[in-house]
Symmetry: D3
Subunit: 233 residues, 6 copies
């Protein structure tokens, strides 16, 4: 077995919103892109996939809340759903994927040793899947972190409120922190990055791209084309 | 800590159908009954809860199937959902419940050492949650296995097809095996027991009651009243 | 590391009877065949070995029964012996074998990632090693499941009772289920497949061959020659 | 075993600075207080202890940094040292302590089932031991979170820079967030709470007291007396 | 749950020779003694049982050796058998026993938290079950380590060679080390203690009694009567 | 993935003294040598590194002792420090190293499957890191065990006491045992090998070289040159 010494790691976070309708088409499309990219770059590049819980998670979290669950337990339930989403990607990716979603950073790092595409959900309470993606990127010294979101990039204002908000092509981590600080973090409507994800990106200077979660932009980001917002340090 | 030597164990399987609408009322009602029963019988009796995946599981299984997942992986996804259902019960039961759903028989047996109500989902592919409940009952030498189903008991004919089918008050395991053998096991419409559950009940002569999954019948079964179908050996 | 994408998986179940006399000759012979096959088909084919507990297990199970063990604990003891048998094969296979027997389906699937011969015993109570083999075959999408038994194939009648029973060259899963249903499942004398193994083979249409557990038939089965009974769907 | 239903949980975070000189006196003093408190409130109250890495951790982190370790690995090394600190407390607490520091939130929650004092270090990269303490407090529905720090409370200005800074007796989470936001989070000189700890305290409204890490203030805080800064919601 | 603070721990090592004939009588007798002792001393005393592999282990080790297993793997196989022996005791002890044999020192210490009789086999290669017993005694600060052997005590000469050898009533660890040093450690015929067990007993001054493995001497040792050889420090 | 069938394993034990000053230079030098050796012998040779706790461990052990820790817990603390030392090597070795120190023999063997340099600290109480290295060498059938010590080899007398002691170029295990038996094992001043390490080397006839822990001697040992003391069987 050749050690993976010179293999480039790309961490891709996909929004859990992909699964909102429990409808496999989008997962299939993304998997086709990722499988092609994996096969074309064999031994040179490895993709780590982190997938969110989205509205599917919200359904169970809402029920659990009514039953009296504490916030940490609610997070745990959301994590379980995000791991099921990771399993759906594993099914679609076939033999190119590591066969199970790792449950901890330690397991994720070990799974990455196989050279396969590793699909991960959440890790533990208090941590968004954005933070998971950032931590994995940091620990594996990834050369790129692509955050594929519903919003598509960083705007000068909250685009859901201000139709004239314009997307920024480049932003520093500090600026991003300020922009996000203004929006309500509870709402989850503009959840591009949480403070932990930002802190990790900042301290390790991880090259980060925020794009829209669709096939076209994912392909562009993988091909190194300009798309979405680049978060620089 | 007093060893749990003389504590009576009751294993209760609740159909995953309870969660079909992701609506907490039924879970709350059942938890109130179980908590009262637990508190009234402290140190004398312990409840082990096994919860199915129901239609919630089917939604994800169906998506995974379309994405090319093998049958064992489909089972694993169903198991994940049944464990989320167990977590919802843990939230509702509060401090009387063991704080996490055990993932294996070994973990379940260790969790039972605490004397708390243990809420379990599935264990592994190829095994229904009925079989999980039967195995746990066997390993813990349970004095009763209550299977709370949507059908409510064993009928002489499939009640979904024959409106005049009558419920049997008593049935031997062999007879039950024959009755179930006639129905299609794939369909899941009449899934009272699978072959593994039957085999375990038979070999260990576990006293088993099949009841309808509602508050009234659960209370009757716990109080030792005649309800549903008794599976004798 | 080349992903094992196009590697064909063959699951071989060997009867625990191989170890009845604790005499290494047969294990050595089988290992020589398997090592040769592994080396000749490198990167194209991977063997997963599942080994039963046989009479060695029965000795301990019988003692445990007299000491009051429940059926699930008896199964666990049998599983421990089957895992020791797997370790004996690992010793004989040398560096071509994964160094430990996996304890769960999850561990088995991860171990298979190494491309080595993986030797497995049982997984958990209520499950024969036949069922373990079928589940592993299903989860790894195996192209062939070879069940090497003492009986050598499926007969139209129980060959231990009817000397004139004739072996069938082909049988459907449904027919096999019926034939096995007639024999006593407790006795273990005609234990070709248990209900769970059958269910898994049926639902995933796993190509299955039942052969006699000797070098000649194993070689024939691996070489794709006609031998024993083919279980079709 | 009586379920711990009505047991009050108090989570105490102790600064890793306690161990700076590897000198056991302070640990001994704190343990005497905690043991007395544990014994006097048996079955009514349970203490969970979280201990930081302090300067001891910094020594190894600095070496690892020079050797090229990524930030996540540096965090992991700091966590290892904080766990050794937890072991030192376990030694001093004797049989009243759970015998090992839990490695994850799940393990911590299970360990708390024993009713003993549980001593914990860090959990995973990207997370301060303050955040660990807040998460544990949230998951166990603690009635109080005492953060025993070197600074002793929240000041209106950074007390290390402004000698005339005055300590606040009460502060809201939002105000605390703003005060902390002004100081450099990298420096670690004024590290009362990190963003994750704040977020958890805020979302679960955990009653929190920030005190100076000495015997007198710890005793006052445990006795419900006014001391340090109360963080309210 | 009352913390087990003042509970006295007694570690008993039983020779694997008990199981040589796979005949349950002796196990039953010992379990009756241990169960009675456990029940009579509830909350004051806890028994930890360590059981060897004996000749049963030798059978498998011999086969594995012929198949080319390395010494560490041979040890692992012996450990597996000793764990099955522990399971047989668990079956006989019933609800007074912790339900599984712990696999590591960490697991053993955690299992001891339940207050139940914990039955353990081996831990890892290179370590006799005597050493396991000594380590557990050390970690749990046991007040007594009873080593129930086939020889029955320490003799001034090897009793299997010198019929006139006399048993010593008292011996220091240093003297025992010298006596054992003269006998062949490979043979296993006079295996009272291995160097690791001796080292642990010496460094922690664990009060140790070497007795004959029969009901009478075990009862005498538990009752504090003079029997076998006392190993003092 | 090519099975590692014909890969030669070399186990290198490095004294924990390397880290006494928490100064990275020596670790860097050794890592450069090991990385070069790894890269030059790819697929033919694999290095397993075992690293001791040294004086860093002693600092914490001494504190824990004063706090009342038992000897086994002291060992555990020493093991934790040795694992941090292993992590420092992992940082310095970069992608050629397995990403985490294995915690048990089983994990070490599995980690070795990756073909990478595996850096290990201690395993469990009662066991020196010399013994860990010997056990790993035995289990992986290593072709060479290099023990890089502060003393540099085996002397006819204790060199710290007798300035005229001469180093032996060759010694049998039995002779080494006798020489070590004379020195005080508690003191740790002449701790070349402990009894367990010796026993393992003897029983498995592992070719062993004791050298001085510096770059020059390590290079010579790896290059097969005569250096230090050869321990033969």
């Amino acid at each position: 077995m050749t050690p993976i010494s010179r293999r480039k790691i790309i961490v891709i976070k996909l929004t859990g919103g992909l699964f909102n309708k429990n409808e496999p088409r989008k997962v299939k499309n993304f998997s086709t892109i990722l499988n092609a990219y994996h096969s074309n770059n064999k031994n040179k590049l490895q993709i780590i996939l982190v997938i969110g819980g989205g509205k599917n998670a919200q359904v169970y979290i809402s029920t659990a809340k009514k039953l009296g669950a504490d916030q940490a337990s609610l997070d745990e339930i959301g994590i379980e759903i995000s791991r099921i989403h990771a399993r759906l990607f594993i099914a679609a990716l076939g033999d190119n994927a590591y066969p199970y979603p790792p449950l901890t950073l330690l397991e994720a790092v070990k799974a990455a040793e196989t050279g396969k595409i590793v699909a991960i959900g959440g890790f533990q309470p208090g941590q968004s899947t954005n933070a998971v993606a950032a931590l994995v990127a940091e620990r594996l010294k990834a050369s790129l972190f692509i955050n594929a979101t519903e919003v598509g990039g960083v705007y000068n204002k909250d685009p859901t409120k201000y139709p004239k908000a314009t997307m920024l092509t480049k932003v520093t981590v500090t600026e991003l922190g300020k922009i996000l600080g203004k929006s309500k973090t509870d709402a989850g409507t503009y959840d591009l990055m949480d403070p932990l994800a930002l802190k990790v990106i900042a301290r390790s200077k991880i090259p980060t791209k925020i794009i829209r979660c669709n096939s076209k932009e994912l392909r562009m980001a993988l091909d190194g084309k300009i798309v979405g917002t680049l978060v620089g340090s």
